[in-house]
Amino acid sequence: MTIDMTQFYQVFFDEADEHLADMESLLLELDVDQPDLEMLNAIFRAAHSIKGGAGTFGFTDMARVTHVLETLLDRLRKQELQPVTEMVDAFLEAGDVLKAQLQAHREGEEYQDERIDRVCTWLERLTHGEQPAGTAPSASPTAAPAHSDQTQTAEPTWKISFDPLASEFKPDVHLDALAESLGELGTLQRYSEATGRPVVWYLSGPGVCLNNIQEIFDFICDLDGVQIAPMDDAEKSASPAADHEDEAFGFFDEAPGTPQDAEDPGYGFFADSPAAPVSIPPENNGQPSDSGYGFFENAPGAEASQDTESDGYGLFGNSPGMEQVASQAAHDREENAQGYGLFDPSPGYPSSTKSGDDSPSGSTEAPTKGGDSGGAPPNKENAAKSQTPKRGPGGDSSIRVSVEKVDQLINLVGELVITHAMLAESATHLDPVAHEKIFSGLSNLERNSRDLQQSVMSIRMMPISFVFNRFPRVVRDTAANLQKKVTLRLVGEDTELDKGLIERLADPLNHLVRNSIDHGIESPEKRRAAGKSETGEIVLRASHQGGNIVIEVNDDGAGLNREKLLAKATERGVPMSDNPSDKEVFQLIFAAGFSTADKVTDISGRGVGMDVVRRNIEQMNGRIEIDSAPGQGTRITIRLPLTLAILDGMAVRLGDETFILPLTAIRESIQPKREQFKTVSGKGRVLNTSGEYLPLVVLQDIFELGQVGQSLEDSIVVIVDTNEGRMALVVDELMAQQQVVIKSLETNYRKVRGVSGATILGDGRVALILDVDELVQLNQEMQPKRTGTSEQGNLA
């Protein structure tokens, strides 16, 4: 059986994005001197989740990076290593690599860059506890020159000369600020500042254009006093950039705002990204072999991958290479004093410290940015690999919204439906002819609000394949363990149900499937002996039935052994009727601890945890049934409501009160005849229906509603299924079948026994939703309290 895993990629991408963003914000919060163990754990978990997901979906490259990351984090959280700033840097860098990989996978490609290896070795080195070396992360020598080449050739350089004194601003203070603002456009080289006026600066950078410079100056001084002119070398180097790009400058492929579009689209991007200019000074300095160079090379800022640049400078600000920048700057100052320094107070330096402070806020917007620009960058790559099928424009096809918001929406729509019902009810008093418009408006409103309700509900709906598709693996592994041959067939994986249910369904189903393999399907030898094919089959089937989801776990194994179950029940003293139906017998396996005691029989294991399964299902307002035929197999049927928020119910009247009875529980309703009511030794009342005696539950008594309005014969008896078998519920009247929005009583009140919640009826009144299972229990507790006489009176 093959499964198309690609349908889950989007989920993984979204999740991984979330984990990466979490990891990043945690990393940025992490106080290296006093690391919070909880925080380290959280980071570890995030990394671990990505690794798990990546492994599952076969993104081995991501799994590899996360694995190294995880190893180091693991040592940290076990406190085998003391975290240092460099590790945070390395983690952030790894995070960036992962993001790039993720982005590439989204595009249906594989991210390939020496960055990956570099980060891995860096992390590995840190894991082995090496001290931060002077050279910081090892630079990749091949990438370095290419990189410098490119940036250098690509940048237009502007010569800016002005007279600070004439232009009415104070020197020093404003000059630095100005330099900083300019530094955000590109690399700023400050000439002849100390020597006197006028000041001459050179500004180069991929996104620099005349307007921007003028804008900045416009803020500070009169533009007349400033001369801005392009430099020659920008022109002469403009053309080669485009040729080289493809092979040489791997990472710049995805960086917008690089070479040839220096003037326009890229500009906006780099304007708020000081990372790029920060990384450039050493290159312009013409010292590619400088030790500081490798550092810059490695900093995410240098790589300018489009969705991470804002984090880049956070990293830059703290990184161990800082001293080198500082010393470099100091060195330059010395040179400058001698007359030939290229850039005085290294322009990268001030801006990097500043942006370090900004980075937390920057990182929060990083994911959105990544999403926004997701479609744009890889155009060139696409042209090259146009055959590669694209997976669509990532990011935009789904959004993650908190469940709370969706629930709020569902509640509001529920209110809308209720309001409509109230309006409709008021309108029934009107003359349809005279108020035709009102009626047509109301019917429009009804249709619209129903559509709205459906679409809002569908937000929470997911195909059940999200649970089903884990089972091929489960079946394979379990079967291999038990040396059985089992195939799995999935039917109706597209059936949609509430996300909340899906998550809670996984465990019970897992249990059922494993049980089926373990105890249902026989060994190949036995199967052959029984004349069946050696390979057993398990079928997981999901379908809609009315307002319910029905999930079946079928196996073609040996089936349940009625006699053994009965023997077991007797042994354990479980009360059974003389001639119990198969259903009753099979329900035994759901009894708590029923077969955990010993494993004598081949079906004994089936009881293990089955009560847990049943309880899980019941918590979801669902029911579980079991059918079995010896030698043919077993079918376990789970019935669930489509959603947790809405219930199909039957409104029933009891005196003046209305109650809602879940439709899933109702078997049938009958108009009883007097002779059907019987008492058992004056204690319990029963109802005889088609030969069966069912306990009779009189809601009036249980809920102490006071006087019994009508005699039992005039009442309606609703036969309901409970986990203790069937029972007969006496109500005054069946009113209507309707969908109700479930509201919790516990929000403002407390749990009321016999009631699972409340809802608001069309007339705005509150109706309680009955919990039949609790009613049975209540009824049993009530029995001793009753006296025979009062019932006799009722019956009469």
């Binding site: 209110e415 009583l745 929000t747 009140y749 016999g754 409340a758 509150v766 109706a767």
Partner: protein, 167 residues
Amino acid sequence: MSEDLKERAVITSDDSREYLTFTLGDEEYGIDILNVQEIRGYDAVTKIANSPDYIKGVINMRGVIVPIIDMRLKFHLGQVEYNQFTVVIILNISGRVIGMVVDGVSDVVALKGEQIRPAPEFGAVLDTAYIDGLATLDERMVIVVDIEKLMTSGDMGLVDRIQNESS
């Protein structure tokens, strides 16, 4: 919502706090106005099974299910009748919305700390644990009730107690 209210607590310059006073029979009670969400008339309630008589049931207040308590029944005071003049004070107590039926709402008063005297022991009628004190206001005595403590107390049966939850 209660959190918001707390933050802009009405503490006027002279350290006084504002109280909503209501009557139950001949007695006047005061509760912290910050616990009051709104005041409304009495609607039909939906009865809740097996609850004490002073819990009248639940109502639908704009989509929120709100339990209604009749204080007159709880304290055995006043004439218990429901007509168009019956007033329900909707309280917001630590996020829970609870409605309280009283005879009438009289006033909003500002009381300083020193105006509230400790209450003597009453015995059984009302546990003094829920009474912050007694205040005199133009010859009237106002019983200042710690409504939060009262409504969350076990014997009101409004909040699940721990043993209830486990059952």
